[in-house]
């Protein structure tokens, strides 16, 4: 199971089918980033149609197949594919693989002082199954009828009667679910079993806690979606009627199915996963932000224990809020009251975490480097995302706001300037560990400020659209009279979105440029305390020269009486 460094491994074992958690982490991160970029590209295409409906896409419009665009004018089929695949790719192929697969794989063994994950081969398999899922999803665009087009939520019966792309989507999802399950088992065992001696649970860096809770969410919430996926596959391939009620008439023809199914069954099973999935997106991000803020404020995190209890509580509660996505189905008032209450309750621990992070700044000595900027921006952005969940979590206001752009604005604030900013922060922060070189601060700031401005430019106007009652997932927003006055906002959003795309160029330049020309650094350039900084940069196979022992909590910065303002976890003596 373990490899020794005496025999150099052939290239394909070392970099392709590697069992080293760091290589797998990098593979996950690079694949995830590529999918993020791809998913972003899909969105930029959609934004053209939304800003200038029915007008030909300039320059690149004629490059598309005639089933996607005719004379550069986007067809609704293609628009719906872009919508469904943007969501799927961003969530399941971009953010989660980057946050959990990338950061989790790379950092968790390092932060707990382990030489590798508990099951390295399983880890490799997890990546390659994910890769297969990604290829499947990507390839579905090239089907004769294109990719899935029933939204990332794939509500039945629409998804049941949809084109073949939906079947491929389901197969891809089953790959991704399998990959997540393998990964989460690995994380749980690694964290529980392979901690360094002396590393008790309350000495974990918060990031490890976040990954630990996330793994349980993945482990226990994904299987019901797998069950739902199997049932929808059966519906599509074996013509069962799990989600098809009796008496359907599609396009004037009575549908020849046995009937007796329930469309809401899909929604229940889907959201049973998909709400915890929201926390799978956000918890690792909170973990990353915590690490970076502790290091760059040079002081311990305020209320670390309260944050740990909050994150555990969030994990629990996230399993009993799912039906707040279904308030406007025919749910009874008692049930909707129950889910409104749980929804309000789950907001409290998020407030606790956000407050603790903001209070951690107080009394610090804040270094405003690029990772810190992104991490700080995460706080108000996630705050907006969380606050705007409030009117959606109350049925009365949800009646008006349900399935409008308000919802889009809300969850994008959580995920885009929230989670993705945290992920950028993490990339800038741990780049020196992974490569031994620092990223450019100048390009980093050139990346940060436009990104901050333009993400807000994209998502803030969506709240106005939502209040105006504009439905989401509209191919052509100006068909409705009530959506016409907001059309200038759509143009504004689209321009901001394209500028946001341009703002990522400094990052890409920085990423590749720093690989080659970045300033070389030693093992602990940020003077941080957690265990990953005790390993060489980049860490060799097996990570540590000696398995470290842990003597104190994760964030012992500026301890009075110490010579240095940081006291690493593994240092026995005074620093």
């Amino acid at each position: 199971m373990t490899h020794t460094d005496e025999h150099p491994l052939p290239f394909w074992r070392k970099y392709v089918f590697s069992t080293d958690h760091k290589v797998i982490g990098i593979q996950y991160a690079v694949t995830g980033l590529s999918f993020l970029l791809f998913g972003f590209g899909l969105m930029m295409l959609m934004r053209w149609q939304l800003a200038y409906p029915g007008q030909p896409l300039p320059f690149i419009g004629h490059l598309f197949h005639e089933k996607a665009m005719v004379m550069g004018i986007m067809l609704p089929e293609f628009y719906n594919q872009l919508g469904a695949m943007h969501g799927t790719i961003m969530v399941f192929l971009g953010v989660v693989p980057l946050a959990v697969g990338g950061f989790g794989n790379y950092l968790v063994p390092l932060q707990i002082g382990a030489p590798d994950m508990a099951f390295p081969k399983l880890n490799m398999m997890s990546y390659w199954v994910y890769f297969l899922g990604g290829v499947t999803m990507f390839a579905s665009f090239f089907l004769p009828e294109g990719a899935a087009q029933s939204g990332w939520t794939s509500y039945s019966p629409l998804a049941n009667i949809a084109t073949t792309g939906q079947t491929v989507w389901l197969v891809g999802m089953i790959f991704l679910i399998t990959s997540s399950l393998l990964g989460s088992v690995n994380f749980i065992v690694t964290i529980v079993q392979l901690r360094a001696d002396g590393l008790s649970f309350f000495r974990f860096p918060f990031f490890v806690w976040a990954q630990f809770v996330t793994s349980f969410l993945l482990l226990l919430a994904f299987p019901p979606l797998e069950a739902a996926g199997v049932l929808q596959l059966m519906d599509r391939l074996a013509h069962t009627s799990f989600f098809m009620p009796s008496g359907l008439v599609v396009a004037g023809k009575v549908l020849e199915v046995s009937g007796g199914g329930n469309p809401l069954l899909w929604q229940h099973l889907f959201w049973f996963l998909a709400h915890p999935e929201v926390y799978v997106l956000i918890l690792p991000a909170m973990g990353i932000v915590t690490e970076i803020l502790a290091c760059n404020t040079r002081k311990p995190i305020y209320g670390y224990k309260a944050m740990v209890y909050s994150v555990i509580f969030i994990g629990f509660m996230s399993f009993i809020v799912w039906a707040h996505h279904m308030f406007l189905t025919s749910m009874g008032t008692k049930m909707s009251a129950f889910f409104q209450i749980t929804t309000m309750i789950i907001s409290i621990p998020s407030v606790v975490i956000l407050t603790a992070l903001a209070l951690s700044l107080w009394g610090g000595s804040i270094r405003f480097n690029t990772p810190t900027l992104f991490a700080i921006a995460f706080l108000p952005m996630f705050g907006i995302g969380g606050l705007t969940g409030l009117p959606l979590g109350l049925v009365a206001s949800d009646i008006h706001l349900h399935d409008t752009y308000y919802v889009i604005g809300h969850f994008h604030y959580v995920v885009a300037p929230g989670t993705i900013f945290a992920l950028f922060a993490g990339i800038y922060h741990w780049f020196p560990k992974v490569t031994g070189r620092k990223m450019s601060e100048f390009l980093g700031k050139l990346h940060f400020w436009p990104s901050l401005i333009f993400t807000n430019g994209v998502f803030m106007p969506m709240f106005l659209l939502g209040l105006a009652g504009v439905s989401r997932r509209l191919y052509d927003p100006i068909q409705y009279a009530h959506a016409q006055p907001t059309q200038p906002l759509n143009v504004f959003i689209s321009i901001c979105a394209w500028c946001l795309g341009l703002s990522q160029i400094p990052f890409i330049l920085n990423f590749f440029g720093s690989l080659l020309w970045g300033k070389k650094v030693d093992k602990n350039p940020w003077e941080a305390t957690t265990l990953e900084w005790a390993a060489p940069s980049p860490p060799p196979h097996g990570n540590f020269e000696h398995l470290p022992e842990v003597y104190r909590g994760p964030y012992e910065y500026s301890v009075p009486g110490q010579r240095h303002d940081f006291w690493p976890q593994h240092m026995k003596e005074e620093n």
């Binding site: 549908l255 002081k299 406007l328 009117p391 439905s471 509209l474 068909q479 409705y480 009530h482 303002d565």
Partner: protein, 269 residues
């Protein structure tokens, strides 16, 4: 003409709507206060504790009391939003239906991509329907053998209602999930195939408005636009009698295998 729509909430013409709007305003003011307060703190902290020569971080701070009180305050306010605003309003909209004899009763059958509006006609009784009788001309599948069906009126994408009179709409879908939304009415309800879901509303103001589909229902989702006309009682009656009743259709050959339609007026909880 009066401006119905803009960059925020559209005009509100329903009796229950002002309460929804009030809740939306209250929440947004609460959100804004919370955010501004919190954000000011953030900016202050960032400025005050920036790294600079001679400044060192403090290892341990005293326990902050205010945030704990604030969090308790937030929790209490959320409880107030639930008990004071959301629960009663939802109860009113979902559970307390107006008297059926007073209200206008109408069925709305959604399909890809239109709203079929079915009025019971002069007798006030909906005719039986059967999915096997659905044709382009008979879009809800009315059974011509049922005498109650003869005076029924079916329109496509035209929902006319009288002002100041409650309307009970029974929603059903032929194919996929749609969502019946009238922005100016502050009403929205997912239409789930296999179920009949009643909603009610009452307009306070006349005018020409829209029904929008809020749930992705396929390629034509973006153009599943219905016209929602609120008229005075006289105008409504005039429009109503001008509509051709179902019996005008030629009778198709008799078919013995009639599948009973789902019971009408059944409340789904």
């Amino acid at each position: 003409m009066e401006k119905y729509y803009g960059w925020g909430l559209p005009i509100d013409i329903s009796t229950h709507g002002p309460e929804i709007d009030r809740l939306i305003y209250v929440i947004h003011i609460f959100m804004a206060l919370l955010f501004i307060g919190w954000f000011s703190f953030l900016v202050l902290a960032l400025f005050k504790f920036r790294a600079r020569p001679g400044h060192r971080a403090t290892y341990k701070l005293d326990h902050f009391k205010t945030p704990t009180y604030l969090e308790v305050g937030i929790a209490l306010f959320e409880a107030l939003l639930l008990v004071g605003f959301s629960f009663p309003l939802v109860h009113k909209v979902r559970n307390v239906f107006p008297d059926e004899s007073q209200a206008l009763q109408v069925r709305v059958v959604a399909e890809q991509f239109a709203w079929n509006v079915h009025y019971p006609g002069g007798d006030g009784i909906f005719g039986k329907t059967d999915i096997h009788k659905i044709t382009p001309a008979n879009s809800v599948g009315l059974d011509e053998k049922d005498p109650n069906a003869h005076d029924d009126i079916v329109t496509i994408n035209q929902l006319h209602i009288p002002v100041n009179r409650p309307v009970i709409t029974r929603l059903s879908s032929k194919d996929v999930i749609h969502s019946f939304g009238i922005p100016v009415m502050r009403i929205k309800q997912d239409v789930i195939p296999g179920q009949v879901i009643p909603v009610w509303f009452e307009a306070k103001k006349t005018g020409n408005f829209e029904i929008a589909c809020a749930q992705l229902c396929g390629l034509g989702h973006y153009r599943m636009r219905g016209f929602f006309t609120v008229e005075t009682e006289e105008e409504f009656t005039k429009w109503f009698v001008s509509q051709p009743p179902f019996v005008a259709l030629p009778l198709p050959p008799v078919d013995q295998s009639i599948v009973p339609s789902p019971p009408q007026g059944e409340r789904e909880g």
